[in-house]
């Protein structure tokens, strides 16, 4: 075989691969995701005026499952649209928003003025950027102890468990809170997130707010300096799996993962009696939050982790959509507006089955008004 035909074949191979992939494109852009048993298909048909085009969004993994459901429902209603949401993490979402790589970002924390993020985002948008609370994800303290279906914990006990100061399930401190439970002598295995996460940060904020003497580190997305006992696992999914497969395991994980993993979750007592984690109790905590706006239509929330309201579940993670108030490309602006109108409106009803809490009515009204102002 000669060299010419040999290289010819190689070139042909490469060209073939590209050509082949090119061919595969025909007629597949139609809605392919026909779903036999889709969850809550409450695709709002009326509220969102359909704009067309495509959007790129990315950020928080905590709201990824909510986004997926919303995108599915929205695309089903507005067939000319394509929205992608990548759960790459809040930090990546914000930095890619600032680098003009994403049309809007999902983030576990609002843009940080101290970090210069507010100014940078405004510069990129050419208008102030808005933080819009959209998804409330309660953080569950999930556990697996044989025979214990009901467990009450206080912030101080949670802190001591996570720092390794309580090491067995029948420790007097736990017993004191759960007189009726038959607690075994199983050692406690703590699981936390090894990767940087807003969930870690909010959980640590909760511990620090309620037990400043016990939990002394500065809350951070990185769990490295918290000094947690036990083992760090990558991703919510990793923590979920680890708890589910370890007798005596306990960890913090977004409620949606506790629900999908069918894990038991502890009732938390902040001082006003034990509160079970439900959509309502989580929404009650969000309703108590204050709006600490950066100005204009911005809706940054300030959560009070130490609140002692009865019936409000205190370990809360609110994730935001970070958007421009005025987009340079009006087509992008109208699609963002159209999509977020849906998510802030009818979309909220789809959340509960996924393990998220809907926005409380008062905040929802403000978010809707802010979305209305996007252009």
């Amino acid at each position: 075989m000669s060299i010419t035909t040999r290289t010819g074949v190689l070139a042909g191979l490469a060209a073939g691969a590209i050509a082949l992939t090119g061919c595969g494109s025909s007629g597949t852009s139609a809605d392919a995701g026909a779903s036999p048993d889709g969850g809550s298909s409450s695709a709002g048909s009326s509220s969102a005026a359909c704009a067309s085009g495509s959007l790129k969004a990315e950020g928080s993994t905590a709201q990824k499952n909510a986004m997926e459901q919303w995108i599915k429902d929205f695309q089903a209603t507005c067939s000319g649209t394509t929205i992608t949401y990548n759960g790459t993490g809040s930090g990546a979402g914000v930095s890619n928003f600032i680098a003009k790589q994403a049309d809007f970002a999902g983030s576990d924390s609002a843009l940080d003025p101290a970090n210069g993020e507010v100014a940078k985002a405004a510069a990129v948008c050419g208008s102030p950027a808005l933080n819009l609370p959209m998804v409330t994800g309660p953080i569950a303290v999930a556990y697996k102890v044989n025979g214990v279906k009901d467990l009450v914990l206080t912030p101080k006990v949670i802190t001591r468990i996570f720092l390794g100061k309580i090491t067995t399930w029948n420790d007097p401190a736990i017993k004191a809170l759960n007189a009726n439970a038959s607690l075994p002598s199983t050692p406690i295995t703590v699981f936390y997130r090894s990767d940087s996460s807003g969930t870690t940060q909010n959980f640590e904020k909760y511990l620090a707010a309620n037990d400043p003497a016990g939990f002394t580190s500065k809350p951070d997305k990185d769990s490295s300096k918290a000094g947690f006992a036990g083992q760090g696992k990558a991703g919510s999914q990793g923590v979920q799996q680890a708890i589910g497969s370890t007798e005596g395991g306990i960890g913090y994980v977004e409620w949606s993962f506790a629900v999908s993993g069918d894990l038991d979750t502890a009732r938390v007592d902040n001082g006003a009696g034990p509160v079970e984690l439900t959509a309502d109790s989580a929404a009650a905590a969000v309703a108590a939050a204050k709006v600490a706006s950066n100005g204009g239509k911005d809706l940054t929330l300030k959560l009070d982790y130490a609140a002692r309201a009865s019936g409000a579940y205190p370990i809360i993670l609110v994730t935001y959509e970070i958007v421009c108030s005025k987009y340079a490309d009006p087509k992008v602006g109208s699609l963002v507006k159209s999509f977020l109108t849906y998510t802030a409106g009818d979309g909220q009803a789809a959340l509960q089955d996924l393990g998220y809490a809907p926005l409380p009515t008062e905040i929802q009204t403000q978010v809707k008004a802010a979305v209305e102002s996007i252009s």
């Binding site: 790459t88 930090g91 970090n115 090894s194 990185d222 696992k233």
Partner: protein, 384 residues
Amino acid sequence: MPKETPMIDRTPADTAGPGRMAGPAVSDRPEPAPDPSGPALRVDRPVVVPVVGSSQPAGILPDQEPVFGAGSLGGRTGAGRFGDRVLAGLSSGAGAFLVLLIGLVTVFLVIRALPAITSDRSNFLTARTWDVGGDTLDFGVLPLLWVTVLISLVAMALAVPVAIGIALFISQYAPARVARPVAYVIDLLAAIPSIIYGVWGIAVLAPKIQPLADLLSRRAGWFPLFADHNVRGGTIFTGGVVLAVMILPIITAIGRDVFERTPRANIEAAWALGATRWEVIRLAVLPYGRPGLVSGAMLGLGRALGETIAITLILSKVSNTGAFSFSIFNGGETFASKIANNASEFNSPSQTGAYIAAGLVLFVLTFAVNAAARWVVNRRKEFS
């Protein structure tokens, strides 16, 4: 065969062709210097070009007489010289491109890492803290370095002997109809994405090898390397085993290829002397394949040191506050898994710089290991 140069004259005309390959070896490889006044046997002759042509199987040299016309001897501007210049230029250009590329990467890494390293409040190399979220940086890479090295050592210790064994099995022991499918299946392993290795490692493999780990730490737990740290599943040991499986195909594939290329003459000479099969391997095959094997092992090691996603999924993170742990039955983070665990939340240049600095150490580490391997190979070459 026309008798023009002394070199050609030595070879009888009837051995021209396939037989020449196994013919008497010329002792020294001619140093093909770009200098036109090279060794006498490098005769530039444009006329040859069309003849060693496409229809002829490469490697079999044509023996048409008219080719070596004396008149063409002086041709200095022929296609041959031009072709030589092109290929030499292209290939050294590619080399220079690589140098430039790595230069750029290094500059990128150093520029990003340097501010973080200089503003580090701890000793960058020996500290065990990692606090880069706030305004001040306080971090060190010692635990990362230790875990990275340890996990790679576990992987290499398991993979290299087994890979040599399989490569020998495929190239020297197994009949072709067994060897080919086996080689193929092992190649396939290289195709499995690392995230799948990670999932398999933590969910399927880890529970199965836990009893072995328990046994070792119960019996030999006094030895720091095997001390029990109450980490189940996501240990350095599990990670090392998975890495070993991951790098096995790389080392095996290269080992197989170099062993298969052992000159028949060497092997037959050993057989003729009455050597057993093992002696043939020890005396002819292994020495011949050693540099290639080292290359393969280094590629595998590079993969092990830098493996990101599988290790991230497998290794449990543990707190670095207690006594320093030497154990392979503890969790930890490697350079790559540390970066991957946090890459999604980089939100300031100084913070990013700290992680890039960790990447820089990995870079240096890999290079040091490779340089050492090259040095060993070259030294052995000189002595043999």
